[in-house]
């Protein structure tokens, strides 16, 4: 089987399987989950049993059901954030390239400053003021993350904008909008596909991290980072409760990374180190 005209490698198939699996969980959560999202159905930190496959959490909710519901919020929030950050970043990046040196300077310097401090620090400052609701969370991370997308989009488009075919279009008298949409964008997007995967992983881990700190998605909504926080204490009793959601996070990122790795390898050239010597 081929995807985009290329045959996925074994590891790419593993990645595709994992991602599809979690997406199905997320979409059909209410039909798949054995119990409700916020339902207390068992004992505190109940061990895994035939009834509760992965055991219960700190207030007796079914961990499996919460993981299934958590797929919705965690993946959903990260996905929306990434799409938003990509849209903002790409448009700004293109604007910087075709909009002339003044716009470029303003945007680039602003992004430089934003990038000169760690994203987490910035996010913490913003969240300390606005509090954490899902829209705030998405907006904050999307805007912060778009600075990284901006950098890439600008660099990629800059390389394209100096090519002769763009010059031809400009010399023909085409408007900025046409040049951006028809000449630059179609050529800028393919190299950014893998970046989308990487940004998703980053945002996904970032949301999970914030939730783990208690500053992300708030209970009673189930989300994987928050679940780790809820059951964190169980670890000192030797119970694996916090490991299940943590493992779900890990699996999802590994899955996306495997796909990204495959996409990157399609375009990779062999380096000098593999020459016959």
């Amino acid at each position: 089987m081929k995807i985009f005209g290329y045959k996925p490698t074994l590891s790419a198939w593993v990645g595709i399987f994992i991602v599809t699996f979690f997406l199905v969980l997320a979409i059909f959560a209410p039909w798949i989950a054995p119990y409700g999202e916020a339902e207390t159905v068992g004992r505190t930190f109940g061990r895994s049993s035939a009834e509760f496959w992965l055991g219960n959490d700190n207030i007796g909710r079914d961990i499996l059901s919460r993981i299934i519901y958590g797929a919705r919020t965690t993946i959903g929030v990260a996905l929306v954030t990434t799409i938003l950050s990509f849209t903002i970043g790409t448009i700004a990046g293109l604007m910087a390239v075709v909009g002339g040196p003044v716009i470029d300077q303003i945007l680039s310097r602003f992004v430089d400053i934003m990038l000169s401090i760690p994203l987490l620090v910035f996010a913490l400052i913003v969240l300390s003021m606005f509090g954490s609701s899902i829209p705030t969370l998405i907006m904050t991370i999307a805007i912060l993350d778009s600075t990284r997308v901006f950098r890439l989009a600008r660099a990629v488009s800059m390389n394209i904008a100096v090519l002769e075919y763009v010059e031809v279009a400009k010399l023909r008298g085409e408007g900025l909008w046409w040049v951006m949409r028809k000449e630059i964008l179609p050529n800028a997007l393919p190299p950014m596909i893998s970046e989308f995967g990487l940004r998703f992983c980053f945002n996904f881990l970032f949301v999970a991290g914030l939730s783990f700190l208690g500053l992300g998605i708030q209970p009673p909504l189930a989300d994987w980072g928050g679940m780790v926080r809820d059951s964190g204490k169980a670890i000192s009793f030797g119970l694996p409760a916090p490991l299940w959601p943590a493992m779900a996070i890990a699996l999802m990122t590994i899955g996306v990374n495997l796909i990204v790795d495959w996409i990157l390898s399609i375009n990779a050239r062999p380096s000098g180190a593999s020459a016959e010597m």
Partner: protein, 537 residues
């Protein structure tokens, strides 16, 4: 048995994906003999050169054959044995010296490295020997030259330093891989003379890889013609140049010879003025690239602008199109002045002057179909309906000699020559009166380039087009230009009908330039050097 210093038997090189790059090539080299490997891109000539050192670039594998150096098969050696032969018995001179020298070490360190590492000399001996080599290769201040870093010396000097590095172990064989291609003609001649001297003085055998028959004719005893990884013909240099046996060789030779003479049909005068450039100056930042230039192009005429790199000839093209705004002077088209910046020109002004670029790969948008690329100007300037555009695209494709069904394809799968035809069709789609050609053939193989030149000529006859042809290749100028302007450091130092420019009395620079272009005879280099000696004496 050991009469041949290098003997390659049935060499086969494949890419990792299974493509055959070199197919069953055999050659032999006696002591002091130079074999020229000639061919167009993809002929496998560089791959053979590297295989002679049992080296395959990433993505390639040597899959068959023997490479005997002084009777020992280097391919059968272990890593240690191969290493011992490389550099010591067989050394390599690459196309780009700038990229082949390590930026982190001095030239001296890199030249001395080989004899020291191969255990031939002590550090002091190697240093002395390197200075000796620098002296004999005519490098300035040989005592201190080696203390500089690669980025601190010029391209021609670096190429000579690479020659010094290659012969530092007194190898039996030198592999020259297009060593003068990146140089300007006037530099090329010096470096070429030097290589000839080195080969003679040290009695070294050499493989000389190039795409230019005239260059290889100066230095080789025998020539091997390659195509698609296979040998086409092997013979003495005289025989290949005078009586090529194979049709392919004959085509290469006759095309190259045509460049030595001024074509008859360019000796026509044109008088109806089209483009007039008067006293124009232009600069990049504070650096002035065009310093008061005047030039005119008449209807139906081809005017060539020749010069070496940095002469400002490409800036001329950009200035006329308005990509580089002039700071003073006037540019008029059919008597009407053109705005300095293309952004301020009318659609009509833009439509009348079209541009063709050097690299067809980047001149065509890889995400648009050929139909979209060619059709857009027709739509944009003349508001053609989709059906009308389709008709026009088909007409243009036929005009540039491509099948009509290419319209639905992407340009990425086409060859360089075909891409350049598409670029020409796109220019034609605007119904221009003047086409500025910026080195449109210099990225193409010789025979393909020739086809493009013929196409441009045909279109000129049919449509009455004018061309402003920017090039560094005097051969092309002789074949197509009615008038010629020679540029040097941003100024036009000579201009007039091509026949006049190419015949005495010359401007001294033009003479030097003309004298530096290799001609298709084996004694050309010796002649030129002898003449120069006379002059200085």
């Amino acid at each position: 048995m050991t009469e041949h210093v290098l003997k390659i038997n049935n060499l086969r090189v494949e890419s990792v994906s299974g493509l055959v790059l070199v197919d069953n090539v055999s050659l032999e080299l006696k002591k002091g003999e130079v074999l020229g490997l000639i061919g167009e891109s993809g002929a496998g000539k560089s791959t053979i050169g590297l295989s002679a050192m049992s080296y395959a670039r990433a993505g390639c594998r040597i899959t068959g054959g023997e490479v005997l150096i002084n009777g020992t098969d280097i391919r059968k050696q272990d890593a240690e044995g191969r290493r011992d032969m490389r550099g010591k018995r067989i050394a390599y001179i690459a196309q780009s010296a700038a990229a082949s020298f390590n930026p982190s070490h001095t030239i001296m360190d890199q030249v001395c490295e080989m004899p020291i590492q191969h255990g031939l000399m002590s550090k002091d001996e190697a240093r002395k020997w390197a200075i000796e080599l620098f002296t004999s290769l005519g490098l300035p201040n040989p005592q201190t030259f080696g203390d500089r870093y690669p980025h601190q010396v010029s391209g021609g000097q670096l190429q000579r330093a690479m020659a010094a590095m290659a012969i530092s172990c007194r190898p039996d064989i030198l592999v020259f891989d297009e060593p003068t291609t990146a140089l300007d003609v006037t530099t090329q001649i010096e470096v070429l003379a030097l290589f000839k001297k080195v080969v003679k003085e040290y009695n070294t055998a050499a493989l000389y890889i190039t795409h230019d028959l005239a260059v290889v004719a100066q230095i080789s005893d025998r020539i091997m013609v390659l195509r698609h990884g296979k040998m086409v013909e092997l013979g003495t240099t005289e025989q290949i140049l005078q009586q090529p046996k194979e049709a392919y060789t004959a085509a290469l030779v006759s095309e190259r010879k045509a460049a030595d003479h001024i074509a008859e049909d360019v000796k026509v005068e044109h008088n109806e003025p089209l483009l007039e450039v008067k006293d124009v100056r232009a600069s990049y930042g504070s650096f002035e690239v065009i310093k008061g230039v005047s030039i005119a192009v008449a209807k139906g005429e081809t005017v060539a602008v020749v010069g070496e790199s940095g002469s400002g000839k490409s800036s001329m093209a950009r200035m006329i199109t308005g990509l580089l705004a002039r700071t003073s002077g006037t540019v008029t088209f059919k008597g009407k002045e053109l705005a300095p910046n293309y952004k301020h020109r009318s659609r009509e002004d833009l439509q009348r002057i079209q541009l063709i670029y050097q690299l067809p790969d980047v001149a065509l948008n890889p995400r648009q179909t050929i139909g979209e690329i060619i059709g857009r100007p027709a739509q944009f300037y003349f508001g053609m309906s989709p059906a009308k555009t389709k008709e026009r695209v088909a007409e243009l494709l036929t005009q540039v000699g491509l099948p009509v069904d290419y319209a639905g394809r992407l340009s990425t799968a086409l060859s360089g020559g075909q891409k350049q035809r598409i670029a020409i069709a796109r220019a034609l789609a605007a119904n221009p009166e003047l086409i500025i050609c910026d080195e449109p053939t210099s990225a193409l193989d010789q025979l393909v380039a020739d086809e493009i030149l013929k196409l441009l000529k045909k279109l000129q006859d049919e449509l009455g087009l004018s061309y402003l042809f920017i090039t560094h290749d005097l051969g092309i100028v002789r074949r197509i230009a009615h008038r010629t302007a020679v540029m040097l450091r941003g100024e036009i130092i000579a201009q007039g009908p091509t026949a006049q420019i190419f015949n005495p009395p010359f401007h001294p620079y033009t003479e030097n330039l003309l004298a530096s272009v290799p001609e298709m005879r084996t004694d050309w280099l010796t002649d030129v050097l002898a003449k120069r000696q006379q002059k200085t004496a």
